[in-house]
Amino acid sequence: MSAASEIEAMMANYLRERLEIDGTVTIEDVTRIAVGWSHETWLFDAVWSSAEGEQRRGMCLRRDPGNALLRQTSDLGEQFRVLRCLESTDVPAPKAFWYEADPAVLGAPALVMEKVNGECPSPWRKTGREYYSAAAERGVLPLSFIDALAAIHNVNWRDAGLDFLGVPDTGDSFARSEITKWRGLIDESGHSGHPILDDLTGWLEAHAPSTDRLTLVHGAYRTGNVLISHDQVSAVLDWELQVIGDPMYDVAYMLTELNREGTDLLSNVVPRDLFYKRYQSMTGIEIDDESCRYYQLLYAMRSAAFWMSAAGLYADGSNSDLRLARTEWSVTVALDRAAQELGY
């Protein structure tokens, strides 16, 4: 039986029980999303009959194989809670239906959520860059892309129940907690590291910025992590790195050169001036360039931590995907970037 057939059979049984359907549930158009190194993701349509006629619902299954990248920082149970909290807000995000912590139910800890209409062109491919360039010309997507980030930062996170994510003190606690998190991932990776990383960490600790404004922070807001339908952001995806923290952490990610290729457009789609003007107007938050510069160095550390963790998964034998083995050299590229950010 192929993997797709197994998903069909498993989800048909699961949904019949969950939706309390007497008849048959048919699973159609099963597709595995090939990109991403964290959770296993399947898209499908569930079809069943009811008194009102045929029902069809697009769904997405995410499973945690237990040996994926960022497994330490990205728990599906937490993602489920975040998506549930976001339902009462203006943030476009998929509806979360169920979370199954028991691997016996769906073969691994799993989250079942809505399949949102839209496309997600990769900004790392030529076709993706052409897509975003054309959308930037039309002018609608840049506005929607900024508005979705503003919606995230405008969430009243306490009212939405998101304080379970942990609330840093004001001052420099947020930056320090991020340093601690990524240092932990590096230590856990078993990677030997490099003195550039010690230099970067020392610099980050010595220059941690203070913030008295805490918002929901997505942590990886860029094209490639949002679904787009008719030039509008139909859903913000990849709720794996969210925290309560300094909104400049997301703004820095928008501004970084790392998330654009061959263009001055932020995240390949947003003119810089438009971003400053509209973001500040939509949120009432003034962009602090100095803090953004700091967070770009923090991203250099995070990037090194990602790749060290990835390389470590292959090195310790817990994952045999050769893409992970190759990331040993991505660590070097991240360290090169870190040194440049530090001015050498």
């Binding site: 990383l197 230099d199 600790e205 190759r326 090169d336 040194a339 050498y344």
Partner: protein, 135 residues
């Protein structure tokens, strides 16, 4: 006559990339084949450049320690010990502990900044060597 190991790895890499990979129809397996080719190519470079890189690294680190010994005179014991320990290995990797101790002692202090400004070119040169392999 046997081939040097770096060249053997290079040939394996080329074979995977040019002949074996394109013949694989399953997408996942084909990607893995190309990844294997990339990894073998980098290992090949690493093997071929290893002795040259090691020699340059040791020379640069030895020179750095001569300079550091001249300025890190009136410093806490932990800093002095970290420098001596790093000198003993002549490896760039051993500079990490010294850097941590410098920051812990007095980030922003002139002497610390002076020491870091001597260390950083050595780190830059090391990462440049690594980039020869990584790219």
């Amino acid at each position: 006559m046997s081939l040097p190991i770096g060249e053997q790895l290079q040939r394996l890499s080329a074979k995977l990339r040019a002949e074996i990979g394109p013949a694989v129809t399953d997408e996942y397996t084909r990607t893995q084949t190309f990844m294997a080719s990339v990894i073998l190519e980098r290992l090949s470079k690493q093997v071929m450049l290893a002795s040259d890189h090691l020699m340059v690294e040791q020379q640069e680190v030895a020179m750095l320690h001569e300079q550091l010994a001249g300025i890190l005179v009136d410093v806490p014991d932990v800093v002095a010990h970290a420098r001596v320990a790093a000198e003993a290995t002549l490896e760039v990797a051993a500079l990490g502990t010294l850097i941590r101790e410098l920051y812990a002692w007095g980030s922003g202090e002139k002497l610390v900044e002076d020491a870091l400004s001597l260390i950083r070119p050595v780190l830059r040169a090391d990462i440049d060597r690594r980039m020869e392999i990584a790219q």
